[in-house]
Amino acid sequence: MTLRVRLALATALTATIATLGVVLSRAPLVLAGTDGIPAKSAVTFIHRSETRCQGGGTLPAGTVAIRVSLSANAGPGVSLWALSGSRVITRGERGAGWGTDETVTVPVQRVPETVGGTSVCVAIGPPAEGIQVNGAPVQTSAGGRAIWLRLEYLRPGTRSWASLAASVARHMGIGHTPGGAWAAFSAIAAMLAVCVIVSRALLSDLP
């Protein structure tokens, strides 16, 4: 075993642990608000690219992603922008290929302050398959009827993943064998063993 292998192993493991620390120090996205539209399954389907605009309700401060009630196995590209009057508050896009989901989450520029009475436009790229719309028919201000999407506004929560670890570990043991704390402990033990075995194998086998 050479010094290079030791150094490579030490560097890679340190980088992994550091990244893990960064990830665990961040907060998960939580629901900050919605447009109030219920997500009734398969109210219509989209078979070609189109742009639809609808009322977005109140867009909460700190929003960094918007979950849109579109469903696909391999979804098309989705662009989205939110307006207050004619002013664009935020925008974002999600590349094609998402799914299999009942929703698509589009990352957007952080919304600095809460804005009421917004409208949201969703541009859907050319679909390779029918896109299922989960939303509800609404009476528009112009007197017509339209199908609106359910929009959910997501922003980082107040607690980090690290501070949530205990509750996540408890949750893992529910409806599962092994149950209770054993679920998380056995998973952690298995991966620690994997790390040790892999490191030792690399140190002994690589020249």
Binding site: T16, L31, R67, R94, G97, W161, G175, A190, V194, I197
Partner: protein, 513 residues
């Protein structure tokens, strides 16, 4: 790629056991090789076992159907009789209590946690609910029974426990199969890349830590066994290319192929490559012993292997003819439906499922870069019921290491092009296996597109080519050169370990966060 000691192998059938124990490269005893092979197997099994704990019950593709198949087989001794959802009362109750349908495909919803739901599940698990249903097994119903028959062992072992206990035992059986797959991948590398033994460790451990493999082998699915079978076939073929197709190897390849046909219909995709391999090996014969110029033909061994491999298909087809149904059951109908279209358009669809559209082809996937957005991204990370993905930037970032790995592997291949040329027939066999798998998935996807309006692009279907992934990783390490190869190899393995860990955390966050 080096031919290593291939040329020194005595090759005679009688000498094979001794040859198997001989070191292939300086400094690597048979004992050391065996130790590392077992370590790779242990890592793969532990990793898959971890995935089995992390993945919530029934939150993996078609797991309810696979479990229903095992349960029906174990409880009644009969195969499922329909592709409906006539599962047992026990399974239906547990699925309902776990809110399996509500959580599936809804990344915003977590698994159950409230006290009333937990209590309801606890009470239902304790009830003596019916363990046999109407015999439905959903999409698993048409699959052959080998994997499910093996899974009845842990099912019986856990018969005194709840369905969730039995499910975990069944998942652990899949995890054991992951160990077998990783072991054979390592042995494949030993046979096919004998020049640098340390690179076997890189390839073997890399495969064992590949998250898609761990996830797939951590749930109840015949893909786990198919992976082990295909890896074993890769190993036997590479060994036969080194030592010649001895009778024992022929029997091993034939038996593995027969079991493969009985494991999952997707094995049909590997068949053309295996047949080509047997034909080449039969014609090439067994290398002559030193001092002799005559090669021993191995056509008899080749025919024997083919006969053993084809036996389950022949028996099934014969049974079909006697019963008055299509000889190959559902597959005959499917093949007919695909061939019913224009061959050019069908081929264009399959091409575009993997590669960019060529001029003159009608677009089958408008707006989608299938290579990148369906295969690459999904191989990097899509877990649960294909509803658990990384943030989008991760897939962009992944292009960098994957590009580097591909570049280094290519460098190794170019640097050893002489050896590569000498081994073109062997390479052609591996590529035919890969092409067969991709073609089969493409045809299945075309059918799904026709009938369900959706494609079938799931990278887990390419896991039978796991041994080739191991080879790519080993080659990438070697491509970094004699001096930097080992540290690059260590970096690659830890990169995959990190990828695996963060994949598991993503699943934990999605279902329990």
């Amino acid at each position: 790629m080096s031919t290593g000691t291939a040329g020194t192998a005595t090759g005679a059938a009688a000498a094979q056991p001794r040859a198997a124990l001989q070191p292939l490269a300086a400094g690597w005893s048979g004992r050391r090789t065996a130790r590392t092979a077992l370590l790779c197997a242990l890592v793969a099994s532990l990793n898959a076992a971890c995935w089995s704990v992390i993945t919530p019950p029934f939150q993996a593709p078609d797991e309810p159907s696979h479990v229903a198949y095992v349960q029906h087989l174990a409880e009644t001794g009969r195969l499922p009789n329909s592709d409906g959802s006539g599962f047992s009362a026990e399974e239906l109750t547990v699925l309902r209590d776990l809110r399996q349908l509500e959580v599936r495909w809804h990344p915003e919803l977590r698994t159950i946690s409230s006290r009333p739901r937990r209590e309801r599940l606890r009470v239902d698990l304790a009830r003596p609910l019916g363990r046999s249903g109407a015999g439905g097994a959903g999409p698993a119903a048409s699959e052959p029974p080998a994997y499910y028959a093996l899974e009845t062992i842990p099912y019986y072992l856990g018969s005194g426990g709840t369905l969730l206990d039995r499910l975990e035992l069944m998942r652990l059986m899949s995890a054991l199969m992951a160990g077998a797959a990783a072991l054979f991948c390592f042995l494949f590398l030993r046979e096919s890349l004998p020049g640098a033994p340390w690179a076997w460790t890189v390839g073997g451990l890399g495969v064992a830590l590949f998250p898609l493999f761990g996830f797939t082998s951590g749930v109840v699915t015949p893909d786990a066994m198919l992976c082990a079978i295909s890896s074993a076939i890769f190993y036997c073929l590479s060994r036969a290319f080194r030592l010649g197709l001895t009778r024992n190897l022929a029997i091993a390849i034939g038996t593995l192929a027969a079991v493969g046909f009985l494991t999952k219909l997707n094995f049909i995709g590997l068949a053309p490559g295996v047949i080509l391999g047997l034909a080449i090996l039969g014609r090439r014969g067994i290398p002559a012993p030193p001092g002799s110029r005559r090669h021993e033909r191995a056509l008899g061994s080749s025919a024997l292997a083919t006969a053993i491999a084809a036996s389950p298909v022949c028996v099934y087809a014969l049974g079909g003819l006697i019963a008055g149904r299509a000889p190959l059951g559902r597959f005959s109908g499917s093949a007919g439906q695909v061939l019913g279209g224009s061959p050019v358009s069908e081929l264009a669809y399959v091409w575009q499922l993997y590669l960019p559209r060529l001029p003159g082809m009608a677009s089958s996937f408008p707006g989608l870069s299938t290579t990148r957005e369906l295969w690459f991204d999904r191989a990097v990370g899509l877990y649960g019921w294909l509803d658990t993905a990384f943030p989008t930037w991760v897939y962009d970032f992944a292009l960098l290491p994957v590009g580097l790995i591909a570049g280094l592997a290519l460098n190794a291949l170019i640097g050893n092009r002489g050896a590569l040329r000498r081994r073109l027939p062997e390479l052609a066999v591996y590529l035919t296996i890969a092409a067969g798998v991709l073609l089969l998935v493409g045809v299945s996807s075309r059918l799904a597109q026709s009938f369900e309006g959706t494609s079938f692009a799931q990278p887990r279907y390419t896991l039978p080519m796991l041994a080739l992934l191991g080879a790519a990783l080993a080659l990438a390490a070697r491509g970094a050169g004699r001096r930097w190869g080992p540290p690059v190899g260590a970096l690659l393995v830890i990169l995959l370990l990190a990828h695996d860990l963060f994949s598991q955390l993503q699943v934990v966050a999605r279902f329990y966060g």
